[in-house]
C-alpha cells in the first residue's frame, strides 16, 4: 500500500466488501438453482425466493463495486494503528470463544477480564486475576443460581461438583 500514513484505504475495503457480497450472492444463486427455482405442485420450489434475492444482492453490490472502482478517494478505512487496537480486542475475544468451546465459560471469562485489566488497563497482576475470578463468581451466582440458566462448563467445574 503506497499510502504514507499506512493502513487500509476506504476504497480498497469498499471494493473487497462489494466483491465479497457478490461472491456470496453467486454461491447462494448456485445453491438455489440446484434446489430448483421452478413451479411445483405446491407452489414455487424452495430455491425460488433465495434465487431472486441473490440476484438482487449481486446486482446491488456490482453497482457499489463500480462506483467504488471509479471513485478517487484517499480516505482511510482504518489506519494500521487503529487496526492494531481493534486486534487487541478481537484476538483475546477469539481466544475467549475458543476457550469456551473447549473448557466451558467460567475460566475463560475470568482470564478475559484479567487480561484486559492487566494488559490494557495496567493494573497489577494480582488485582486483575482476583477481579477476573470475582467476575466469574458473580456470573455463576446470577445465571446458574438465580435464573437457572446453564452455561457451558468444563472439567474444572466438574471437579467442583457441577
Amino acid at each position: 500500500m503506497a499510502d504514507h500514513r499506512g493502513g487500509v484505504r476506504a476504497r480498497t475495503a469498499e471494493l473487497v466488501a462489494a466483491a465479497a457480497i457478490a461472491a456470496l450472492g453467486a454461491l447462494v444463486v448456485a445453491d438455489a438453482y440446484r434446489i430448483g427455482i421452478a413451479w411445483d405442485l405446491d407452489g414455487p420450489q424452495s430455491g425460488t425466493f433465495p434465487f431472486w434475492t441473490g440476484i438482487i444482492m449481486i446486482t446491488a453490490s456490482l453497482v457499489t463495486f463500480t462506483f467504488a472502482a471509479f471513485g478517487r478517494s484517499r480516505v482511510l478505512f482504518a489506519s494500521s494503528q487503529e487496526l492494531a487496537s481493534v486486534a487487541r480486542l478481537f484476538v483475546p475475544a477469539c481466544m475467549f470463544v475458543a476457550g469456551v468451546l473447549v473448557i466451558g465459560l467460567y475460566l475463560p471469562a475470568a482470564a478475559l477480564v484479567a487480561w484486559f485489566m492487566a494488559v490494557i488497563g495496567g493494573y497489577r497482576l494480582t488485582t486483575a486475576a482476583l477481579s477476573g475470578l470475582a467476575a466469574s463468581g458473580v456470573i455463576f451466582v446470577v445465571f446458574e443460581a438465580w435464573f437457572l440458566v446453564a452455561l457451558p462448563k468444563g472439567p474444572v467445574e466438574a471437579l467442583l461438583g457441577y
Partner: protein
C-alpha cells in the same frame, strides 16, 4: 370507548407491584445500557431476552420495553456530558448539548433533553393508543397478498428513505433475507443454504446476529477510537428544572414538528437515528438564528430528543398492529413475542388483549418512570463512565457471549457472533445500514411465506399483488417509496431544464 376500558384494564395489569418493580428495574438497566457505548437497546434486550423465558409474557414485555425506554433516555446523558453518544440516535444531541455543558449549562441541557424525550414518547404513545387498534382491525381483513404488500412497503421505504447509498441498503437487506433462508424450508422440508454443515441446520438466529452486529462491532469501534472519558459531573438542581420547564412551552412548535417527524420515521422503518438528524436539520433551517446552532442552543437539544423518542416508541406501532417491526429493537421485542408463544400480528389485539393493553399502559408508566429515574440519578449514571474501559469492555464481551449462547444453548453460535461482529464493524465503517439487514432476517420467513401463499392463490401469477384496490394501493405506495430518491432527482432535473 372500548379501547379506553381496555387501556384501564391494562393499567391494572401494569400496576401490579411485581410488574412495577420490573418496570423500574428495566428502566435502570436501560439507562445503563444507553450510557455505555457498546451496549445498545437492540442488543441489550437481545442479551437479556433469555432471562425472561420463565416470566409471564406481560411481565417480560414490560421489563424489556422499559429497558428500551431507559436506553432512549440514557443515550442523551453521555452525549451532553462527554460528547460521546451512547446510542446512534443521540448523535444529533451532541451538536448543541455538549457546547451547553461546556458553558456550564449541563443541567439545563439535560433537563431539556429528558423533558423533550418524555414529550416525544408521550405523543407517540397517544398515537399508538388511538390508532393501533384501528389498524389492527383493518389488518384483520388482510390475506397473504396484503401482508406481502405491507412487508414490501416497509422494506421499500428503507431503500427510499436511506441517507447513504440505496444500493448498499439493498445489498444489506438481501443479505438479511438470505440469512433467514438458511436451514430447513418449512414449506417443502428441503434444506437450503446449509452447504452440508450440521450447525447451519438450525438456521441463523437473529438474536445472535443482533448481538454480534450491534454489540461486538460497537466495542470494536469504541476500541479503535481509543476511548478516553473525561470526568464531568452533573447534578440537576430543582431550580434549574423549574426554570427550564417554564421556558420550554415557548418551543412548542419545534416540539410538535419533531413529534410528527419522529412518529412518521418510526412507523416507516427509517428509525430513530435519521429522525433525530432530520428534526435537528429542520429546526436549524427554519430558525431565524440558524447559524448559531451548534454553539449551545436549547432548541438544538429539544428537536433531536423529541424526535428520537417519538420514533423509538412509534416503531412499536407497526409491530403491534401488523407484526412488522419498525426498528431493530422492535424486531428483538417481536422475536421475544414469538419465543413466549404469542403470534404477532393483528390477531394479538383480539386474542391477547391483556398482553397488548398491559404493554401500552406500561409505555405510559415506563416513560414516566424513566423521566423520574433519570432526573434523580443523573450523577450516578454519569459516573458509570468513570469505570475504566479495560474493565467494561471484557464484561460487555462476556455478556454478549452469554446472551448469544443461551438463545439455543449452542456453542457454535459464539463463533457466529464473532463473525457477525466483524461483519458489523466493516458494515458500519463502510456505511452499510444494519437495520434493514436485521429486519429482513427477522421478517424473511414470513415475507417469503406470504409471497408463496399469494402465488399459490393466483397459480403463479404476480398479478395477485394488484388484484384488488387494497393490495394494489399498498404496493403502489411501496413502489413510490422505493423510487422516491430517483423521483426527487428527476424532479430537480426537470425543474432545471424548465428554468433554462
Amino acid at each position: 370507548m372500548e379501547n379506553l376500558d381496555a387501556l384501564f384494564a391494562g393499567f391494572a395489569v401494569a400496576l401490579v407491584p411485581g410488574n412495577l418493580g420490573l418496570m423500574v428495574l428495566g428502566v435502570m438497566l436501560g439507562i445503563v445500557i444507553g450510557v455505555l457505548p457498546g451496549l445498545g437497546g437492540a442488543n441489550g434486550i437481545a442479551i437479556l431476552l433469555p432471562l425472561t423465558f420463565a416470566m409471564p409474557p406481560v411481565s417480560a414485555i414490560i421489563m424489556l420495553s422499559c429497558i428500551y425506554w431507559g436506553a432512549l433516555f440514557g443515550g442523551a446523558i453521555t452525549s451532553i456530558l462527554f460528547n460521546i453518544p451512547g446510542e446512534p440516535w443521540s448523535v444529533a444531541t451532541t451538536f448543541d448539548g455538549y457546547p451547553m455543558a461546556q458553558q456550564g449549562r449541563a443541567a439545563e441541557a439535560l433537563t431539556a433533553a429528558f423533558t423533550s424525550s418524555f414529550v416525544g414518547a408521550l405523543f407517540a404513545i397517544l398515537m399508538i393508543t388511538a390508532i393501533a387498534p384501528l389498524i389492527a382491525a383493518f389488518a384483520l381483513r388482510f390475506g397473504p397478498p396484503e401482508f406481502f404488500a405491507v412487508m414490501f412497503l416497509s422494506f421499500a421505504s428503507f431503500v427510499g428513505l436511506t441517507q447513504g447509498s440505496a444500493w448498499k441498503t439493498l445489498a444489506a437487506m438481501m443479505a438479511g433475507f438470505l440469512m433467514a433462508c438458511v436451514g430447513l424450508d418449512t414449506v417443502t422440508g428441503q434444506l437450503r443454504l446449509t452447504f452440508g454443515s450440521t450447525e447451519l441446520l438450525r438456521g441463523i438466529d437473529f438474536l445472535v446476529a443482533v448481538i454480534g452486529l450491534f454489540g461486538i462491532s460497537e466495542i470494536m469501534i469504541a476500541m479503535e477510537e481509543g476511548l478516553a472519558f473525561r470526568g464531568a459531573t452533573a447534578r440537576i438542581d430543582p431550580k434549574v428544572v423549574s426554570q427550564v420547564w417554564k421556558a420550554l412551552p415557548r418551543h412548542w412548535a419545534i416540539a410538535l414538528r419533531s413529534c410528527v417527524i419522529g412518529c412518521w420515521m418510526g412507523v416507516t422503518p427509517a428509525g430513530a437515528t435519521p429522525a433525530s438528524f432530520m428534526s435537528y436539520g429542520m429546526a436549524r433551517r427554519l430558525s431565524k438564528d440558524g447559524p448559531t446552532f451548534g454553539t449551545g442552543r436549547i432548541e438544538g437539544v429539544i428537536a433531536p430528543e423529541v424526535a428520537n423518542n417519538a420514533a423509538g416508541v412509534a416503531a412499536l406501532l407497526p409491530m403491534l398492529a401488523l407484526g412488522v417491526p419498525g426498528s431493530p429493537t422492535a424486531a428483538v421485542l417481536l422475536g421475544g413475542l414469538v419465543m413466549w408463544g404469542l403470534q404477532p400480528g393483528p390477531m394479538l389485539f383480539i386474542e391477547q388483549k391483556e398482553f397488548v393493553w398491559g404493554l401500552v399502559a406500561s409505555m405510559y408508566l415506563g416513560n414516566l418512570a424513566s423521566l423520574v429515574v433519570v432526573m434523580a440519578l443523573v450523577p450516578w449514571f454519569a459516573a458509570i463512565l468513570r469505570i475504566p474501559f479495560a474493565i467494561i469492555a471484557p464484561l460487555i464481551l462476556i455478556a454478549c457471549a452469554i446472551g448469544a449462547f443461551t438463545v439455543n444453548n449452542a456453542a457454535f453460535d459464539l463463533v457466529l457472533m464473532l463473525v457477525f461482529g466483524v461483519v458489523g464493524y466493516v458494515m458500519k465503517k463502510l456505511d452499510y445500514p444494519l437495520a434493514p439487514m436485521v429486519l429482513a432476517l427477522v421478517l424473511g420467513n414470513r415475507t417469503e411465506q406470504s409471497f408463496r401463499q399469494s402465488l399459490l392463490l393466483s397459480d403463479g401469477s404476480l398479478g395477485v399483488f394488484f388484484g384488488n384496490w387494497l393490495v394494489g394501493s399498498i404496493m403502489a405506495v411501496g413502489f413510490l417509496m422505493l423510487f422516491w430518491p430517483m423521483l426527487g432527482r428527476l424532479r430537480a432535473a426537470v425543474l432545471a431544464r424548465l428554468s433554462r
